[in-house]
């Protein structure tokens, strides 16, 4: 083998470790007596290293990452709906229509949840996740100061002092601006599930997402909903849940940028979690309508992850 043959036929593959054993023997024999080709090999590997270093991997923007995860979640749901449609004669047309809508736009809001049913078979993988990773979730990551999170915590603390629901829409007096404690005004035996369904419908009428959490499994009951505007005029909804451990507040904004700038340390499905100023926060991006939500709680991060995951299971099965 001469230098020209080595450079033309073997140099690149040698630098890439792509030579066969026979070729390696040939090359080894040549390089042993040729300093110039050894130098070329070093140059070739340097060039590779330069390319890797300076034309390397670019980080995916946080908002794009979130959008993709959201679309995957919707697609995952739509696949199930399609399968379900194929096996159900009675409801096949309606469900196929749902699946089609979800696939077309990745938009279909999940149906309002009417009842709680948690199949153990579905819950176990997610619960297993907590058992495996629970121990790693103590710190919750270091999140830099964030105005949206500060706002969410300030609302939480304000609602701890008093929460005045103004939804469903039919009980909201838009003219006088007065707030109605509508839950109290209703029939005391009115089922919470129906109240949640009403609230979901009302939110949608206000062009906000009607998806609500179901925290019954972790001992938190729905306490009321409120529609409001931020100081800049953007709409916002507050949904409050109460339990023995305190409150969980879900705040939905009509602007996903509110949370996309933050790199959250933990992910479960469409949700991301962190600890911030002594609170546990969960952010979720809705794939359509450009919504984002922040859930605020004082519970440990593992417990909130579990609560949100169980809610997802409970609500997606209905």
């Amino acid at each position: 083998m001469d230098c020209r043959e080595y450079i033309n036929n073997y140099l690149a593959a040698d630098a890439d470790n792509e030579l066969t054993a026979a070729q390696q023997r040939l090359v080894h024999d040549h390089l042993g007596g040729c300093a110039a080709c050894r130098g070329r090999l070093v140059d070739e590997r340097t060039l590779k290293a330069l390319l890797r270093q300076h034309a390397g991997i670019v980080k995916t923007p946080a908002d794009l990452r979130l959008r993709i995860r959201a679309a995957l979640g919707e697609m995952s749901d739509s696949n199930f709906i399609a399968e379900r449609a194929a096996t159900s004669d009675r409801r096949s047309n309606r469900l196929r229509g749902m699946a089609h809508r979800v696939r077309r736009n990745w938009t279909a809001a999940r149906p309002v949840r009417q009842r709680l049913w948690i199949p153990v078979a579905i819950a176990s993988p997610i619960v297993l996740f907590f058992l495996i990773f629970g121990g790693r979730l103590r710190s919750g990551g270091n999140i830099p100061p964030n105005p949206a999170f500060d706002l969410a915590i300030s609302r939480y603390e304000s609602f701890e002092r008093g929460f005045h629901p103004n939804m469903p829409i039919e009980e909201y007096d838009n003219h006088s601006g007065s707030d109605y404690a509508w839950v109290m005004s209703r029939d005391p035996v009115h089922r919470a599930a129906e109240e949640i369904a009403d609230l979901g419908r009302s939110y949608r009428e206000m062009e906000m997402p009607g998806d609500l959490y179901d925290f019954d499994a972790v001992g938190y009951a729905f306490a009321g909903g409120r529609f409001d505007h931020l100081v800049d005029g953007r709409p916002v909804t507050y949904t409050l849940y109460r339990g023995n451990g305190g409150m969980i507040l879900s705040i939905c904004f009509k602007d996903p940028r509110i949370v996309t700038s933050v790199t959250m340390p933990y992910w479960v499905g469409l949700h991301s979690f962190c600890r911030y100023r002594g609170y546990t926060l969960c952010t979720t991006i809705y794939p359509t309508g450009h919504f984002a939500s922040i859930v605020v709680s004082r519970m440990p991060i593992v417990e909130l992850i579990r609560a949100v995951a169980l809610s997802d299971i409970a609500t997606s099965d209905q």
């Binding site: 593959a13 991997i57 670019v58 980080k59 993709i68 995860r69 679309a71 199949p119 579905i122």
Partner: protein, 199 residues
């Protein structure tokens, strides 16, 4: 009815299992696929669309992925097919950015990774070299550039590159060899121009 519910629960469980496996297997390569999409589309908006289409298509076809093989290569194959089959013809023309815009975009995005290094002089020197590498890469024909990027940046082997680009193995070898030679020439040409400007 009970049997039907059990069947539904199993199907939903399967769907969630697939999602979980996809999250664990494919999503760690998101940055690599985004980088490749940026280089193909040469435009941030189109790259975002291309990436999203690729990931969703990969999810739909995830049952075809062979466990134990290189998932990054599999995703890049889908990306390149997607780009070849529809993207290049349709979307790209109306939104193609200039090379300068594209490089500036890459520089801006890669700036985040510079934050780990706190020596401004070092950052500046690194970015000067990076600029020359980008210029040299851009001077290559796409087939040479793709081969080098897939080998040197994306860490694929020759066989995987052959599958991603749908070309024979021998063609990959010659493109890598020729591409590096051209790259070296381009860098040598850029070096004197730098000294002339005194930078």
């Amino acid at each position: 009815m009970v049997v039907q519910r059990k069947t539904m629960a199993l199907k939903r469980g399967r769907s969630r299992d697939q999602r979980l496996r996809f999250e664990q297997t494919a999503m760690p390569h998101l940055d690599a696929v985004y980088t490749a999409a940026l280089r193909l589309a040469r435009n941030s908006d189109d790259a975002r669309d291309l990436l999203q289409e690729t990931i969703l298509r990969a999810y739909q076809c995830f049952h075809q992925f062979t466990q134990g093989t290189n998932c990054r290569a599999w995703l890049l194959t889908i990306l390149y097919n997607n780009f070849r089959n529809s993207y290049r013809r349709g979307v790209r023309e109306h939104a193609a950015a200039s090379d300068d815009d594209f490089e500036r975009g890459l520089e801006t995005q890669s700036f985040e990774s510079d934050q780990a290094c706190f020596d401004p002089e070092q950052i500046f020197a690194g970015r000067m070299i990076g600029r020359q590498i980008e210029l040299a890469l851009d001077s290559l024909r796409p087939e040479f550039r793709d081969a080098l990027i897939l080998i040197d940046v994306q860490d694929l082997d020759y066989q995987e590159v052959s599958e991603v680009l749908s070309v024979p193995l021998g063609t990959v070898k010659s493109r890598v060899s020729r591409g590096r030679a051209l790259m070296r020439e381009a860098l040598l040409q850029l070096a004197p121009s730098r000294s002339k400007t005194g930078s």
